[in-house]
């Protein structure tokens, strides 16, 4: 669906009121990452447009957006791989441009690209990486053992990386990202291209890594709503280089006028007059997906679904099926952008 087709949502497309407020770390907790009006332009194209946010120590912050939203560019700027066109960002107080070596020592990254060498064994990959972070000898060996056990690859340490499954290869990437115990971990789409089982096990593994180091801040980009929902303390929705909203997944979902979706199937055709009467009860996005079905969205907890079903029964319809579902982050995304998340 394109932006033009989402007329019903137009009232919701106004930017949320907090968007232009300055970002402040939550009181009593040190800010791990502070990003202020960070901008990246490639020629005429603006990939990231004055992005500001802050991440607390120990927090998992999700950046949710479709392909091309500017997620990877943002991560590359924060991980010193791309110089910003304007704006600043600090990792634990270190500037990502002026203090690049210090920033590099503080962060760990798991990029979308496969960065482990397929010709090396699991252990050799970690050994090479560890040295580049200044680890050596017994200290390095201890960290390799610890990370391999955390990602569940201890019994694969002598296996050539090429022979690992996609999920295991991703685990190795993550072990590599956290090998040197970074303060901030950047995960750029950590489960893209994996089967549901591997994704789930990587989510659980990330949870364990966080439990092991409660001060570890994680910045995660994804275009998977359930991933953001499962892993993130807070989520920012990024679209066309701008952050549209930012909050915990639950708050984002609850904030929607359309936070609950109801589908009611009846025993016969619902005529235009009946539909109009029902519509006057409230809700939005009313649809007639089939002649005997009404479908609409409403604010969570309002009870409009049951009210409509009740009204239908009063009017002589028999309700065959009543489905009331909470919205997903996908709906949140849709309400802010007018587009589905997977729309390129």
């Amino acid at each position: 669906m394109t932006r033009g087709e989402s007329r019903a949502l137009e009232p919701l497309l106004d930017p949320p009121p907090f968007l232009d407020e300055p970002v402040r770390p939550v009181a009593g907790s040190s800010a791990s990452i502070e990003v202020e009006r960070l901008t990246k332009k490639f020629g005429e194209t603006t990939a990231d447009d004055a992005i500001s946010f802050a991440v607390r120590s120990g927090e998992t912050y999700g950046i949710l957006g479709p392909n091309g939203a500017g997620k990877t560019t943002l991560i590359r700027m924060l991980t010193t791989l791309l110089p910003p066109t304007a704006g600043t960002a600090r990792i634990r107080g270190r500037d990502i441009v002026a203090e690049r070596p210090a920033v590099r020592a503080l962060i760990g990254t798991v990029s979308q690209a496969v960065t482990t060498d397929e010709n090396l064994t699991v252990e050799e990959n970690l050994s090479v990486q560890g040295k580049m972070y200044g680890l050596a000898g017994r200290g390095l060996k201890r960290m390799i053992d610890r990370r391999l056990s955390q990602v569940g690859l201890s019994d694969r340490r002598r296996q050539i990386a090429r022979e690992l499954s996609g999920g295991m290869r991703r685990r190795l990437e993550i072990a590599r990202g956290v090998l040197h115990s970074p303060h901030v971990l950047f995960l750029d789409e950590p489960t893209s291209g994996l089967d549901p089982q591997s994704r789930r096990s990587i989510w659980e593994m990330l949870g364990e890594l966080k439990a092991d180091d409660p001060e570890l801040s994680v910045i995660l980009t994804t275009h998977s709503m359930d991933e953001a929902d499962f892993l993130c303390d807070r989520v920012a929705i990024l679209d066309q280089g701008r952050i549209l909203c930012e909050d915990s997944p639950a708050a984002l979902k609850h904030s929607l006028e359309t936070g609950e979706r109801t589908v009611i199937e009846t025993d016969r055709v619902i005529g235009p007059v009946d539909r109009e009467t029902l519509r006057s009860l409230g809700g939005s996005n009313w649809r007639a997906s089939a002649p005997a079905v009404v479908e609409f969205q409403s604010r969570p907890g309002e009870g409009l679904g049951r009210l409509v079903a009740q009204r239908l029964e009063e009017n002589g319809f028999r309700v065959l099926q009543l489905t009331i579902a909470p919205v997903t982050l996908e709906d949140v995304f849709f309400s802010y952008t007018g587009r589905g998340l997977r729309t390129e």
Binding site: R76, T79, T80, L81, L82, P83, R92, P101, A102, R104, A105, I107, T109, S111, Q112, A113, V114, T115, T116, D117, N119, L120, E124, S127, V128, Q129, G130, K131, M132, Y133, G134, L135, A136, R138, G139, L140, R142, M143, R146, I160, R176, H180, S181, H183, D212, D213, E215
Partner: protein, 378 residues
């Protein structure tokens, strides 16, 4: 800031640089080891090159088809015919056919049946008319060999008839006898260095960029200088390994003259320094490159620009000035000179010192330029 207490304290500064270089070299070495095809091509290609090129260029010419047209029928002509028959049975240079018709012989020459026609004209005599040689000059090697051989036969006949003693010019070989195969030895060491440097170092960086591996190490705290040094040294280690194996093979298999163990060590040092210079130039060329097409485009040109002007196959002195200019800045020229001094001329290690200075300077200049050109951003 509280961190889990089991985390070891990481090295910084010079210690980090050393660890970074070690890590890059470790990876290059392991990558090479895990890809036998690379080892085989790196080590075997130059040896095959040596055997094929050495044997094909080193062979004496044989069985060149020629026609001899005897129009004279006198004693001189008979002597000339005997000379040709001697050439046929002795050196086997020619397969000779004796024809009576000059026009027929020339016609067959033009059809490619004969490479040369030797005409012994009517009233052949040392005072004139002398024999005439018509040769197929599309094949310069055969043409020159036949011309020289026929000239020699006639000179001897003429000299014999006049009863004069013509003194041979003196010829003295300064070094023990060398066949072309042995002469090629140092060139093959240089070729193996060139091949070895290709599969590692700068090209590794290019390959990493193509596959995205580079993001993994660009975000680490090692400095850009360490990255450049590490990759140049990684290339050097792999190229040296290839060069030294071939050097060893040459020392064992060909009759080279080496002035003792010190000269062998100097040969190894030359291999290392040449590898360093060649790895540095590869990395410089790929400091900004991002796609494999650059590599494909460059390889042939670089091969031609480094290998042939070095004098590997033919003496530099005979090159035109522009090619000599390339040769003067080509590190392979210096590596080759040093190796020829040490292996063919039996020179002491000191003979290679000026070449070492050039190779080291060349590598340093390339390294500094690479550091300036190298972009850490993706």
């Amino acid at each position: 800031m509280k961190r889990p207490d089991r985390v070891p304290r990481p090295a910084r500064g010079a210690a980090l640089a050393v660890l970074g270089i070690a890590a890059i070299c470790q990876r290059a070495y392991l990558t090479l080891w895990r890809q036998p095809v690379l080892i085989i091509s790196t080590m075997l290609f130059p040896l095959v090159y040596l055997l094929v090129l050495g044997n094909s260029l080193n062979r004496q010419l044989r069985h060149i088809p020629v026609a001899v047209v005897d129009e004279a029928g006198n004693a001189y002509a008979s002597a000339a015919r005997r000379g040709v028959m001697a050439l046929e049975t002795g050196r086997q240079l020619v397969d000779a056919v004796f024809l009576a018709d000059r026009e027929e012989a020339v016609r067959l020459l033009h059809r490619g049946v004969y490479r040369g026609v030797w005409i012994l004209p009517f009233r052949l005599s040392p005072k004139g008319p002398g024999p005439a040689f018509i040769g197929d000059n599309t094949d310069r090697f055969s043409f020159d060999a036949l011309d020289q051989a026929f000239r020699q036969i006639w000179d001897e006949i003429a000299r014999g008839s006049q009863g004069k003693d013509v003194a041979d010019s003196a010829r003295l070989e300064a070094y023990p006898y060398l066949d072309y195969l042995t002469y090629l030895g140092p060139a093959v060491v240089c070729l193996s260095i060139f091949m070895g440097s290709m599969v590692s170092g700068g090209l590794q960086v290019l390959e990493d960029r193509m596959y995205g591996y580079h993001e993994g190490y660009l975000v680490t705290p090692i400095s850009t200088g360490t990255l450049v040094t590490g990759n140049v040294l990684a290339g050097t280690v792999v190229a040296s390994l290839a060069g030294m194996l071939v050097l060893g093979a040459i020392l064992l298999l060909t009759p080279v003259t080496v002035a003792g163990g010190a000269a062998v060590a100097a040969g190894a040092a030359t291999v290392f320094l040449t590898s360093l210079a060649i790895s540095a130039i590869w990395f410089l060329l790929f400091a900004r490159a991002r796609s494999a097409s650059v590599l494909r485009g460059m390889f042939g040109i670089i091969n031609a620009l480094l290998f042939f002007p070095s004098g590997a196959l033919y003496p530099v002195e005979s090159y035109p000035p522009w090619l000599q200019a390339i040769s003067r800045v080509d590190p392979l020229t210096y590596g080759l000179n040093a190796l020829r001094d040490l292996l063919l001329r039996g020179s002491p290690p000191a003979a290679a010192y000026p070449e070492w200075v050039f190779l080291l300077t060349f590598a340093l200049v390339c390294g500094v330029l690479t550091r300036v050109l190298f972009r850490r951003e993706v």
